[in-house]
C-alpha cells in the first residue's frame, strides 16, 4: 500500500510571529521555517505503518514555493521514500480548496491506499484541506486521529472529539488527519539525512494538474491579538467571587 503525506512549510513553532507594519500579513523575511508540526506527526505515522508492514511506499507532497523542497527533504530524512513539490511562486497564497484540488490530482495519479495529513497548519489554522480532499476524492475520512490501525482493507481511526474518543472504521482508500497525541515524531538520523539527498523529488506546477490557484478570498487586515492587561492576585475565594461579581462576569 502506498501512503500519500501532504506536508506544509510554515513558520517555525518556536518563532513568535510578527505582523508586518502595514497589516498585510505576517512578516516571514528571514524567519525560521519548518514543517507544520501536525504534518510531522502524519509523516511519522506513515513511517510507523510502513515499519509495521502495513505500507510499502510513502510519498510526501507539498504545495508551496521552491524552498518547500527543504520541508520535503525533512520528510525524506525522516523516512519518506520520495517527494513531489507542486511549486508556486514565492509569496503566493494558495487557499485550502486549491490545495485540496491539487492534492486530489496528485492522489489520482499516485493512487494511494491512504492519505495522512495534519489536521491543520499552524500558520492559518484553517483545518479544511483534509476534509475537502476526502470530499473531492469521494473517499471516507477519519479526522483528528489519535490512533490509526490498518486492518486488512480497512483502517480503524480513533478520533479525538469534544466529548471524548470516537472510533471509526473506514474502507480503504481513505483520508486521515492527525491530531497532536497520535505519536511523537522521530528525529531524523544523520545517515537518513544524507540518504535523503539522493531520494527522488519531482517538481511540478499547478498547471500540470489543471488547477487554478488564484485566490478567491481577500485579506483585509492582519493584527496582533490585543495585549492582555496584567492580572491581579486575590487572597481567597470569597474575594474572588466578589471581584467577579463586581466585574459583572458572574
Amino acid at each position: 500500500m502506498k501512503i500519500l503525506v501532504p506536508v506544509k512549510r510554515v513558520i517555525d513553532y518556536n518563532v513568535k510571529p510578527r505582523v508586518k507594519s502595514d497589516g498585510s500579513g505576517v512578516d516571514l523575511a528571514n524567519v525560521k521555517m519548518s514543517m507544520n508540526p501536525f504534518d510531522e506527526i502524519a509523516v511519522e505515522e506513515a513511517i510507523r505503518l510502513k515499519e509495521k508492514g502495513a505500507a510499502s511506499e510513502i510519498v510526501a507532497v507539498s504545495v508551496g514555493p521552491a524552498k518547500a523542497q527543504e520541508t520535503l527533504r525533512t520528510a525524506l530524512a525522516m523516512g519518506a521514500d520520495r517527494a513531489v513539490l507542486v511549486q508556486v511562486e514565492d509569496g503566493a497564497e494558495v487557499e485550502p480548496l486549491a490545495v485540496a484540488k491539487i492534492l486530489k490530482a496528485v492522489a489520482d495519479e499516485e493512487a494511494p491506499g491512504l492519505v495522512i495529513c495534519g489536521k491543520q497548519a499552524i500558520d492559518d489554522d484553517s483545518n479544511q484541506v483534509g476534509q475537502m480532499l476526502a470530499a473531492l476524492l469521494g473517499r471516507p475520512q477519519g479526522t483528528f486521529a489519535s490512533a490509526v490501525v490498518v486492518e486488512g482493507d480497512a483502517v480503524v481511526v480513533t478520533r479525538e472529539v469534544d466529548g471524548g474518543l470516537e472510533t471509526v472504521k473506514l474502507a480503504l482508500p481513505a483520508v486521515v488527519t492527525t491530531d497532536l497525541r497520535l505519536n511523537e515524531p522521530r528525529y531524523a538520523s544523520l545517515p537518513n539525512i544524507m540518504k535523503a539527498k539522493s531520494k527522488p523529488l519531482a517538481v511540478k506546477s499547478p498547471a500540470d494538474f489543471g488547477v487554478d490557484v488564484t485566490p478567491r478570498l481577500k485579506t483585509l487586515k492582519v493584527a496582533e491579538p490585543p495585549v492582555r492587561s496584567a492580572g491581579i492576585k486575590v487572597p481567597d475565594v470569597d474575594t474572588l467571587v466578589a471581584k467577579l461579581k463586581e466585574m459583572g462576569v458572574a
Binding site: 523542497q69 527543504e70 525533512t74 528525529y187 531524523a188 544523520l190 545517515p191 537518513n192 539525512i193 539527498k197
Partner: protein, 596 residues
C-alpha cells in the same frame, strides 16, 4: 534560565560564506556536502540538542553521577538520550565511512560539536572521548584491533577513554608507573592506577574501551619509554560481543566543582588483558594524535559553553525589568525597562557575543584546515594546512576556554544575585567551563607549546600559515573606505604580534625562561589578532552582501556592529599583551622562592 538555540545563521555564515578563499583550494569533500545538505544536518542536530540534551543539562548537574558497587550510574535521562544520540548516527559524524562513520567534513562536525557542548557539556564528553579513541586506534592500531573495535566505537555501541594521568603525574607523563607485561599469546597484562579518567565507567554503553599509557618491562626511563595499550572493560568473545569482565575497575569517582554529570573516575588495572597500539615505547606519539584532536575539541567545548552563557544572559537581560534607561524610559508602557538598555549590561553582552562569533569564525578556519590536511590532493596544501592546525591547536584550546570562563562569569554578572543562586542555571556554566582551562594540558601548557614547539620550529614555518594570509589581507584592504579604521587596527595589532614573535624568538633562543614568561601573553596576542582577522574578513563579506542587497540584512548588519565592537573595545588589549611581552621575565622571576 538556561536558554539555547543553536546560532544556525552564524554557523552557516562561517560554513558557507566566510571562507570562500581560505587558501586551501576547493576540496571534493566540501563540494559533496552542499549547503542544503549541511543545513539539514545542522538543523537536525540543533533540534536534538535543544529538545533532548538541553533539558538534561541542569537536572544532570543537580543529580550528578553515582558509584554503587563498582557501577557508575549517570543522571536520569542520560541513557535514553545517549541511545537516541547513537541511533541518530551522531557518534559517527566525522568518522571514516570505512568503519561505519558518516565522513562529514570537520567544518560541519565542529559546528555540531559546539551545539552539543552548548546544550550539555557533561553529556558531550561521553561520545567526545570515544571519538578521540577512534582517532588513536585508526591511526596506530593493528588491522585486527581496528576490525574488532572501530565499528562498535563508531556506532556508539561501545565507548572509549584515554587513561593518561596517575596520582603522581599529570603534565609530566615521563614519571608514569603503570606496567604492561607481555604474554605468550601476544597480549599484555596491564597493572596500575589511573586518575581523572573521564567516562572511565558508566552505564551508557555495553562496553568501554580504555586506551592506557603504560611501561613495558624493558622500557627506557622517561617519556621515551611509554607505550599505548587497548584495554576493554569486557573482553570480546569470538563473535565480537562483550564476554568476560577484564581486570579493570572503577575505584572511585571524583567530587568536582562542575561537569558533574560526566563521570570522572579513578581506575584500577589489575592484570588486565590489553593489546599494544602502535610500536613499543612510541605510545606518546599515538597518544598525541588523540590529544591534539582532543585539544581542538576542548576549545570547541569552551566556545559551546560561552554561547550558552551568552544566550541565557540575553534572555535575562530582555526579561528582567529594572530601573530606567539613562537616556530616559525606553519601554514606558512597562513598569521598568529591561536591563538590556543599560550600557554596562550591553558591554557584557557585546563582549560575550564578540568572543563567541570570533571564536566560531576562527574554529571554522581551523576546521577547514583539518579537512584540507586530510583530503587535499595537493601535498603542499596538506602541509600548509597541517602547519596551520599545529599552530592553532594550542591557541584554540587555551584562548577559547579562557574566553568561555570570562563569558560564563559575565553571564552570572548579568543576572546579578539571581546568577549566584543555582536555580537560574547560569552558575553551572562557570563551573563547567572552568575545567576546560585545565584538562588536556592546562592553558599554561598550551602557551608553552605555542612558544616552545610551534613558534621557532623550522625557522618559524608554522607561523607562515597564519601570518601570510593576515599580512596579505591587510595589504589588500588597506585602502580608503569604510573598512579603513578596522584594517588599520588589525595592522597595528599584527605589527605588535610580529614584533613580539621576533622578540620571543630572539630572547627565547638565549634564555628559555624568557619564552616561558612571554607565553601566556603571546598566546592571547596571537589569538586576538586571529579573531581580529576573522572579524575584518567577516565585515568585508557582510559589507559586500549588504551592498549587493542580500535579503538577510539584519544578520549582516549585526555582524558588522559586533565586529566594530570587537575592534574598538577588545582588540586594544593586544597592546597590553605586547607591553607585557616586551617587559620580559625580570619582574616575574625577581622575588625569591622563600619570599612567597
Amino acid at each position: 534560565m538556561q536558554v539555547y538555540d543553536a546560532p544556525l545563521r552564524d554557523m552557516r555564515f562561517v560554513l558557507n560564506e566566510l571562507y570562500s578563499d581560505d587558501g586551501f583550494g576547493a576540496l571534493p569533500i566540501h563540494a559533496e556536502f552542499t549547503p542544503d545538505l549541511t543545513d539539514a544536518i545542522l538543523e537536525e542536530a540543533a533540534k536534538f540538542c535543544r529538545e533532548v540534551l538541553l533539558p538534561l543539562n541542569r537536572p544532570g548537574d543537580e543529580e550528578g553521577c553515582h558509584l554503587e558497587n563498582g557501577v557508575v550510574r549517570t543522571p536520569a535521562g542520560f541513557i535514553e538520550a545517549y541511545k537516541a544520540f547513537a541511533e541518530g548516527g551522531w557518534t559517527s559524524l566525522a568518522s571514516s565511512p570505512e568503519w561505519g562513520g558518516q565522513g562529514v567534513p570537520e567544518a560541519v562536525g565542529k559546528l555540531v560539536e559546539e551545539m552539543i557542548c552548548s546544550a550539555n557539556l557533561s553529556f558531550g564528553l561521553y561520545p567526545g572521548l570515544t571519538h578521540g579513541a577512534v582517532c588513536a586506534i585508526e591511526g596506530h592500531a593493528s588491522d585486527a584491533l581496528k576490525a574488532a573495535y572501530l565499528p562498535k566505537l563508531v556506532s556508539g555501541e561501545w565507548a572509549g577513554t584515554m587513561c593518561l594521568t596517575e596520582p603522581h603525574c599529570g603534565t609530566d607523563l615521563g614519571l608514569l608507573r603503570t606496567r604492561a607485561v607481555p604474554q605468550d599469546d601476544g597480549s599484555y597484562k596491564v597493572s596500575g592506577a589511573k586518575i581523572f579518567i573521564s567516562a572511565g565507567e558508566h552505564d551508557l554503553t555495553g562496553n568501554i574501551v580504555h586506551l592506557v599509557l603504560a611501561r613495558l618491562p624493558d622500557a627506557p626511563p622517561g617519556i621515551k619509554g611509554i607505550s599505548l595499550f587497548l584495554v576493554p572493560k569486557f573482553l570480546p568473545k569470538e563473535d565480537g560481543t562483550p564476554g568476560p569482565r577484564n581486570g579493570v575497575t572503577c575505584a572511585a569517582i571524583e567530587h568536582k566543582m562542575g561537569l558533574k554529570a560526566s563521570a570522572t573516575c579513578q581506575m584500577l588495572f589489575d592484570n588486565a588483558t590489553g593489546w599494544l597500539v602502535g610500536e613499543p615505547h612510541k605510545g606518546m606519539a599515538a597518544m598525541f594524535t588523540m590529544m591534539n584532536a582532543e585539544r581542538l575539541s576542548v576549545g570547541i567545548q569552551g566556545l559551546g559553553v560561552g554561547e550558552a552563557a551568552y544566550q541565557s544572559a540575553v534572555w535575562y537581560a530582555k526579561d528582567r525589568l529594572q530601573g530606567r534607561s539613562l537616556a530616559g524610559a525606553k519601554y514606558p508602557d512597562k513598569p521598568a525597562d529591561p536591563i538590556i538598555v543599560h550600557p554596562d549590561v550591553r558591554r557584557m553582552l557585546m563582549t560575550m557575543r564578540a568572543y563567541n562569533e570570533g571564536c566560531r569564525a576562527l574554529s571554522g578556519w581551523v576546521a577547514r584546515a583539518l579537512d584540507a590536511e586530510a583530503h587535499s590532493p595537493d601535498p603542499e596544501v596538506r602541509k600548509r594546512a597541517s602547519d596551520f592546525v599545529a599552530l592553532m591547536t594550542p591557541v584554540v584550546k587555551a584562548l577559547f576556554t579562557d574566553l568561555a570562563s570570562d563569558s560564563a562569569n559575565l553571564a552570572i554578572q548579568c543576572y546579578g544575585g539571581h546568577g549566584y543562586i543555582r536555580e537560574s542555571g547560569v552558575e553551572q556554566y562557570a563551573r563547567d567551563a572552568r575545567i576546560t582551562m585545565i584538562y588536556e594540558g592546562t592553558n599554561g601548557v598550551q602557551a608553552l607549546d605555542l612558544v616552545g614547539r610551534k613558534l621557532g620550529a623550522n625557522m618559524g614555518r608554522y607561523l607562515r600559515s597564519f601570518f601570510h594570509p593576515v599580512s596579505q589581507f591587510i595589504e589588500e584592504n588597506n585602502v580608503d573606505g569604510p573598512m579603513k579604521p578596522m584594517v588599520e587596527g588589525l595592522a597595528r595589532a599584527f605589527g605588535a604580534l610580529q614584533l613580539s614573535t621576533a622578540t620571543i624568538a630572539q630572547r627565547g633562543m638565549k634564555d628559555p625562561e624568557e619564552a616561558g614568561a612571554a607565553s601566556a601573553d603571546y598566546l592571547r596576542l596571537l589569538g586576538l589578532v586571529a579573531m581580529g582577522y576573522c572579524f575584518a574578513k567577516s565585515t568585508k563579506i557582510a559589507g559586500l552582501k549588504l551592498f549587493f542587497g542580500a535579503e538577510d540584512k539584519a544578520f549582516y548588519d549585526a555582524k558588522i556592529k559586533t565586529a566594530t565592537y570587537f575592534f574598538e573595545r577588545i582588540l586594544p588589549q593586544a597592546t597590553a599583551s605586547f607591553l607585557a611581552i616586551k617587559a620580559g621575565k625580570t619582574s616575574m622571576m625577581a622575588l625569591a622562592d622563600d619570599a612567597f
